[in-house]
Symmetry: C2
Subunit: 216 residues, 2 copies
């Protein structure tokens, strides 16, 4: 008899759902909002968080759970702007799952926080499939990536409660039609607001922050 490496998806997904629900219970009890930022490598998720640290000036007290395949670089960038950050290393996996997020969340001082931001592994595909207990998935797309990406990777844009188009300071130098892109997003998800901003210059960041205020 040979042995085979069997994974039972049904149980695995049940396990993920269990931890995600436990996380949402804890967040509700503590009145803490949790969002899950999902986008390609280099879409500007960490730069957006650095800018939010500056712009919010503690009006929304937040901490960051940084998902990555390797390195603690992003958590160090966030800590450098005086925001508490934990690094969640997936050990090769292309997305975060709920159990790892739950354990990291429990170690945060939730009584002193208004919001937790999960920055998922840089990937437009897989993280959209996994509930990590967030109240809202947020799609992050840089204008350097191209305006066709919502149509090519629709699941994330379908699941997102808001979409952020980043790096608009580059619009003069890249082929990206903002109106076309927003129309594409609206075809997939009519209700999600689309924010256009530049973390580098700060333009447009206030609209996104106002939306976060309303979610709380």
């Amino acid at each position: 008899m040979t042995t085979t490496n069997v994974k039972v998806y049904k149980d695995l997904m049940g396990e993920n759902e269990k931890w995600a629900n436990e996380t949402r219970r804890l967040l509700t009890e503590k009145c803490v909002l949790m969002i899950n930022l999902i986008g390609s490598p280099g879409s500007g998720k960490t730069a957006l968080l650095e800018r939010m640290a500056k712009s919010l000036e503690n009006r929304i007290r937040f901490a960051v759970l940084e998902g990555d395949v390797e390195t603690t670089r992003d958590a160090e960038r966030i800590a450098a702007v005086n925001i508490q950050a934990s690094q969640l290393l997936t050990g090769g996996a292309c997305h975060l799952e709920a159990k790892l997020v739950h354990y990291a969340l429990k170690d945060l001082p939730l009584d002193d926080l208004d919001m937790v931001v999960v920055e998922n592994v840089g990937n437009l595909v897989c993280p959209a499939e996994f509930d990590v207990g967030e109240m809202a998935k947020i799609a992050v797309l840089s204008v350097a990536e191209g305006d066709d990406k919502p149509s090519k990777y629709p699941l994330l844009f379908h699941e997102a409660k808001a979409v952020i188009l980043t790096k608009i300071d580059l619009l003069l130098h890249v082929d990206f039609d903002v109106d076309d892109c927003i129309a594409n997003i609206k075809r997939i998800n009519a209700s999600a607001p689309v924010f256009t901003l530049s973390a580098k210059t700060g333009i447009g960041v206030d609209n996104w922050i106002n939306w976060l205020h309303e979610r709380r």
Copy 2:
């Protein structure tokens, strides 16, 4: 008794390897080179292929197998520059596997080709784990993504036979240190050459094409 959705990974991986080997056998018999372009969404893989169509002017006769989650947009872009292209839709999966590539490859007129380029699903993580029968994985990274990406997503850069840094026309407008990035790549993979180029302006494309000529 309940039913569960069981996947046996051992068999799946063996299956993938079988198709990959079958593909390499066919390519060797036909004297056709096959490369596998892997990079984030928007890293410029399709734009590079469009530029190669212009620059090669049939000196290397090639066809393209376009991997995507959804849409036939990329295959249409390639067909528009008079290169034969097939669209491989993964139906939600974040990477190409060898069987799908093999079936698409068999439908190409291999006797009239020198090279087949597989453009994988836009994703820096998962496609690096799958052998689709290529002779070389090629990592594609745009300077808009950031010079830290090789350290954060090391598997692809470790597996790659060459690395292409794209969109260098944007270097004036983004924070990207080319020397730092190349040093990072060399730490992961000392032997892979690194090509810096812009598909938009054409600068640097010749060095990449010369390398392809040598591989044949």
